[in-house]
Amino acid sequence: MSSCCDTPAFTPPQPPAAPGALQTVVLIGPPNAGKSTLFNRFTGLRQKVANYPGVTVEQRMGLMAGVGRDDLTLIDLPGIYSLSPYSEDARVSIDVLKGKMPGTPAPDAVLLVLDSLHLTRQLMLAAPVLALGLPTLILLNMSDLMEARGGQVDTLKLARELGAPVALISATHGTGLESVSNFLNQQEARRAAKPLSLPVLGNAASTHTWAAQVSRRTGYRAPLSAENSRKLDDILLHRIWGPLLFIVVVFAVFEVVFSIGQPLSDGFGDLLASAGNLIRPLLPAGWLQSLVLDGAWKGISSVLVFLPQILLLFLFIGVLEDSGYLARAALIADRVMRTTGLNGKAFIPLLSGYACAVPAIMATRTIENKRDRFATILVTPFMTCSARLPVYMLLIAAFIPHTLYLHGLVSLQTLVMLGLYLAGFVAAMTTAWLLKSSILKSSETPFILELPQYRMPTLRSLGLRLIDRARVFLSNAGRIILGVTLALWVLGHLPVVTGPNGTHTAPELADSLIGRFGHFIEPAIAPLGFNWKVGIGLISSVLAREVMVSTMGTLYGTDPGTEALNLQTALHHDLALPGALALMIFFAFAMQCTSTMAVVRRETNSWRWPAIQFGYMFVLAYISAFAVNHIAGLFLH
């Protein structure tokens, strides 16, 4: 389907929407039924992700393409097992379906996606959805796999049983989707059609009995179980190979991110620098040129260069998640997580925390027990997120020699990086244990984890995921970082000095407003091995960790002594090796991210938790940096 990506240049005049005309379509189904694949197929790049007001459930909406009209909004609801409000996800789904969600239009039609490989169980969701009385099309997804494995179902009989049209589709291969277009285009005429009355559905057991009867009457034959998945699990969940492969996978991901990502980032950096030089002659020499190029552009490009590496990391996490391996990783990790009082489900948010704590904290919603969830939220920011990468990479490249070990297989730089990742992980686990044995103590909740079948991740869904992440990263770079670098540039150029011959010039960096502030806090950070310039970087990084890099870029760009040097060389003016190590440890532990604090506030519904988290992480970071600076000082002098 190529039509998804075409933005129509010309919009044909639309007839005014008649009252009750088809406008909004919702997509609903159990988890792992392939809803998101279908959603991506219909909306492509014309989708947006937001949050439902007041709750933390993601709202995915988009304009549908390839259905014969382009004014239909498709809403992707969270995957749920039933319409009983057992979770926030289910409550949101019920509210949207019933048109009670503020700000979301009431649906005019429903696309119910069921996994045809497990139809009997999946039909349990069909009953309450059909009982709502909305025009509904039932899509039996993964029908290609079902048929290939000897399964079958009579869709005509099923449609008669359920009183709603049924179609076999494959969201992955895009087959059978014309049924959706047909359904939506006939919808106006079909609106009056009354849904057949379904048996009154009380509890789960009676719903299951009904679903079993329906699937029997419609000749449903379940396909043979996925032999390939089982065979793969024989290896990937093997008691020896399983954990070993798990470690190898994690290690390989990081090694590739750095060995491939570094040259990519370097090349991208050169490109950005030459772009800046191209603009230079276009601007009049003076304060404007300095503000735009030495302030804004230098600051922004020092963060932009990390985009290739961050996207590579997200690509790997996407592959692991889409392939189904992440659920196995949760299973392997359950035993370890248990010793901290958490369960294996906390592993998935924690792993996502390696990319970014914000989506990771939102992913804790799958943890049913509130105390377990809060504990996971509180420790997630210790995981080495991609915003720390720019800082680590800058410091490692500047201070750690590129010594090779094991015949060139591992470099000292990689080992230091792994050490930092390990430090964050150990801090997270220890903190979780502390929390779970004190203020967040709770009885153990059952661990129920569904292992989806292995699937080949599609380029399409990986691509859309990367575009989404790049968008978030760039909008951060655009707003927070641009604002901070401009403010820094201004603070670095005030107060204006009047020269002996009456000309106005910028002050020396040490005499500028920002320089004075840096000197003011220097006594507090000197024991960690940081001077006032690093202090300015630290203060600015409270907004977001990666801002540190752009701040240092702006500071050195402003200072005539270091203006001509690259960032790595310039840093040697201000940091010794013990101080650099202390700075890395400080970044490993400190909570420097306003977005994370905002999301913690929203998820826990109180400022208390983000405040505790910030204080705890700051104290830990300060003490650890102090210790590292002094211990490293002893060994290295």
Binding site: S82, S84, R121, H238, R239, P446, I448, L451
Partner: protein, 79 residues
């Protein structure tokens, strides 16, 4: 299996995942650390910790069958 002895909310969740009376459960494999165990039910694979699985009552014959299946599976893994 016969019945579930679990708190209402957990029970409801498990039932929607296929753990209903008369369903056929097979223990498939253990996680590398020995717990949780992966069960096949209704064509799905669901992992449960032993303390949750203990509260799911199953009929004798099927217990033996499940054990056999698990043993066979584990033997296959070891060989």
């Amino acid at each position: 299996m016969i019945a579930l002895d679990l708190p209402e909310s957990v029970q409801n969740h498990l039932m929607h995942m296929g753990f209903v009376p008369d369903a056929h459960v097979t223990a498939l494999r253990r996680a590398p650390a020995g717990d949780p165990t992966v069960y096949a039910i209704d064509g799905m694979e669901i992992a449960l910790r032993v303390e949750t699985a203990k509260s799911i009552r199953v009929r004798e014959g099927e217990v033996a069958e499940a054990h056999e299946a698990l043993e066979a599976e584990l033997a296959g893994v070891r060989s």
